[in-house]
């Protein structure tokens, strides 16, 4: 087997509790996004578009849909014999089983997996970010700097800097200081939670961190500050482009509206940076004789008899005769009956809205309606 220059470890175990009903029975990375995608599509598609064909997906919270969705990775062209997508759940050992206690701990438990491929570098990703990025460019910088760790950063407005993990650097981009949510930030370079480590440095750091009883076993809180203190070579990679952590219902809603309103942000129509997905098979959408649609993203399998304004309809969604869907996101396989009014709402996956029912939220407010009904 050809030695891998870089493999990716994608952290997909978090609950995403601030997404409320969206994650009641679905892990955050598997939550529907943009009609036909799921959040994890962006990370996995970035990998394949960057030539990374080996990805470990670390799962923990309610992984049913996530596991089924990721499958062998074939949908992202990653079902290859000498790599591919591997689902990595917590497991039991000789001394019993343990949950993943933090981001670094999850990787620590899978040292054997990474050793199996013995890559030169390991890319650590979050499964819950919306962005398009060529990791190769970051890897090239990482190699050029001969860095032990390269952290991808994005410039944020100064007034928001205190909400992020902030990196201060020298003029060559070497990290001099890292502060988590600083009250008085001296930089506006925010960590995106995307790291490239030299595997032998990361391996050492994980073993040390595991022995440390005081550690919370988190990359941001423990591993990176420790490496910085040990005078390891830490560099930033400046990413310029659209990047969102869809951690709250509001940011989840807003970033999907971005997708529709401003194609410059995340253009899913661009062929050479395609966002791949593993959507179920659907017939083409049907728009009825009295359908009235303006500004909308509508997926295969949808049937629309009513009106859809400034909204997104997920695969297989139905809007009945006389209904109006406005400024809303209807997730896959949800069915809106006849004469309903849906405004500023997110209708959960597979939920049925009965005839003549209104789901309306005030302007500026968005709420999730219903509990996702899981189906194949």
């Amino acid at each position: 087997m050809k030695k891998k220059k870089c493999i990716a470890m994608l952290l997909a175990g978090g609950q995403g509790s601030r997404l409320g009903k969206l994650t009641t029975n679905i892990a955050k990375p598997a939550v529907s996004f943009g009609g036909k995608y799921r959040i994890i599509d962006f990370g996995l598609s970035n990998c394949v578009n960057s030539g990374i064909d080996t990805v470990g997906v670390l799962v923990q919270y309610k992984p049913l849909i996530l596991n089924r969705y990721v499958g062998t990775g074939a949908s992202w062209d990653m079902a290859v014999a000498d790599g591919g997508v591997h689902i990595l759940p917590p497991f039991a050992g000789e001394t019993g089983g343990e949950w993943y206690e933090g981001t670094a701990d999850a990787i620590y438990h899978n040292i054997d997996f990474i050793d199996m491929y013995d890559p030169e570098n390991v890319l650590i990703l979050s499964g819950d970010h919306i962005y398009k990025m060529d990791y190769n460019i970051m890897l090239e910088e990482h190699l050029k700097d001969n860095a032990d760790l390269t952290v991808s950063v994005i410039e944020v407005p100064w007034e928001e800097a205190s909400r992020f993990g902030i990196m201060s650097t020298d003029d060559k981009g070497r990290i001099t200081k890292f502060s988590e949510k600083p009250k008085k930030p001296d930089s506006n370079l925010a960590s995106m939670g995307i790291y490239i480590f030299k595997w032998k440095e990361l391996r050492k750091a994980l073993l040390e961190d595991h022995e440390n009883d005081k550690s919370s076993h988190d990359f941001g809180n423990d591993v990176i500050p420790k490496m910085l203190a040990d005078k390891k070579k830490l560099f930033v990679y400046r990413f310029r482009g659209y990047w969102r952590d869809v951690g709250t219902v509001k940011s989840y809603y807003d970033s999907q509206m971005d997708l529709m309103d401003d194609m410059e942000h995340i253009n899913v129509f661009i062929k050479d940076q395609k966002v791949f997905s593993n959507s179920n098979f659907h017939h083409p959408q049907f728009l009825g004789p009295r359908a009235n649609i303006s500004t909308a993203l509508i997926c295969n399998g949808c049937t629309v008899y009513g009106a859809v304004k400034h909204s997104i309809l997920g695969s297989g969604a139905v809007v009945g005769d006389g209904s109006v869907v406005e400024d809303s996101i209807v997730l896959p396989n949800a069915k809106i009956g006849r004469n309903c009014r849906i405004k500023n709402a997110i209708i959960n996956e597979g939920v049925i809205v009965e005839d003549n029912l209104d789901v309306i939220n005030e302007d500026g407010e968005v709420a999730v309606y219903g509990r996702a009904k899981l189906s194949i």
């Binding site: 899913v268 098979f281 017939h283 004789p289 509508i298």
Partner: protein, 367 residues
């Protein structure tokens, strides 16, 4: 009752002009995201048939590209699966016949190596959704070596192909050729005992240049053929006029539900994974089927848009079929037009076909 399937795709037609200049009828795009052969493949797959042979057309590029190793139809398997077998040069140019004996003799090994009891033989250009299991059961009970599937069509309606004269016992008494307004229309599909088909090849080897159904027709005195009535929708496409009509049939609620929305028997096709359709604020799309990847700014009515079609501002598309990656420029008007893959209609151009004479824009052509 183990059953395998054989799909004949080695036939074409000269009535489609540019639409079939580079492809067989089997790989003609249909319904917004399908190719005609998808119906035969899906019907077999949905009826739990896991070994399927396809007699490839002479011009097989687009078909082989489309079906690949058959994974969309669950045929990418270690045991059984998809067998693509080359058809003979040129194949059949007649729209009436489907099953050239020469092609079937060429894939004799497909019949000989399997231990199945029955073989479903199907054409590859009909639009229908059928469960073959009841057909297999009836065939098994009948004890007859062949069961032909037919549909009752209104007398006088313009159907081409073979028609069956059926006796009171359900047995085929005679087969009539195209042009007559008979009521029992043969659906280009029959089930046959595998061993009987091998015998058939031996008996009629000398007639290898003929269509199997025509051989049966000429030798009715030696044939014992049962029939099975199919009562659902059957779309026949024999020219561009039918092509638009059978596409538009899918905007009918009942037909669409029967053919495309049967969750137990979905019609499957090669996945392309395109973005959702973007309807611009000025878009107005009614009574139409639209596939993923399209971007629409204009008006679309009673039409079928395949994936990644762009409809410009103030453009009007009516009663038309625009195949994948077609572009309709700003202010252009299309009525009764079939635009093949990657064709483009430039700004302001107006093209009016009629129901009886639709305009065909060839692949990669720009007007």
């Amino acid at each position: 009752m183990k059953t395998i399937g054989l799909i004949s795709a080695n036939y074409s037609s000269t009535e489609f002009g540019d639409l079939l200049s580079n492809r067989s009828l089997a790989s003609l795009p249909y319904g917004g995201r399908y190719r005609l052969i998808d119906f035969a493949l899906s019907n077999m797959s949905n009826s739990d048939i896991t070994t399927v042979g396809v007699i490839a057309p002479y011009d097989s590029g687009s078909l082989v590209d489309h079906i690949g190793i058959g994974s969309p139809w669950k045929l990418g398997r270690k045991s059984g699966g998809l067998f693509i077998m080359p058809g003979s040069s040129y194949g059949l140019q007649s729209i009436g016949s489907r099953f050239l004996l020469r092609d079937i003799i060429k894939c004799r090994a497909f019949f000989e190596r399997d231990d199945a009891d029955y073989v479903i033989m199907a054409g590859s250009s009909d639009v229908w959704n059928i469960d073959f299991q009841p057909v297999i059961e009836q065939h098994d009970k009948s004890g007859k070596p062949v069961t032909m599937i037919y549909k009752k069509v209104p007398r006088g309606e313009d159907y081409y192909g073979f028609f069956l004269n059926i006796g009171e016992d359900g047995r085929v008494e005679s087969i009539q050729e195209e042009g007559f307004a008979w009521a029992n229309y043969f659906a280009d599909c029959f089930i046959v005992d595998r061993e009987y088909m091998i015998d058939f090849m031996n008996w009629f080897e000398i007639l290898e240049y003929m269509d199997v159904i025509r051989i049966m027709k000429n030798n009715m005195d030696t044939m014992d053929i049962d029939t099975y009535e199919f009562k659902g929708y059957l779309g026949k496409i024999k020219n561009p006029v039918d092509f638009i009509k059978v596409n538009q049939d899918m905007t009918d609620y009942d037909i669409r539900n029967e053919v495309f929305c049967n969750s137990e028997r979905p019609i499957l096709t090669k996945a392309q994974d395109e973005a959702p359709v973007f309807h611009h604020s000025d878009a107005d799309v009614r009574n139409s089927l639209v596939s993923a990847g399209c971007r629409i700014e204009g008006r679309v009515e009673n039409s079928i848009l395949f994936r990644s079609v762009n409809i410009g501002k103030n453009a009007v598309v009516k009663n038309s079929v625009i195949m994948m990656h077609g572009t309709v420029g700003e202010g252009a008007v299309l009525d009764h037009v079939i635009a093949d893959k990657y064709s483009s209609v430039t700004e302001g151009v107006k093209i009016y076909g009629t129901k009886d004479a639709p305009v065909v824009i060839g692949k990669n052509k720009s007007i």
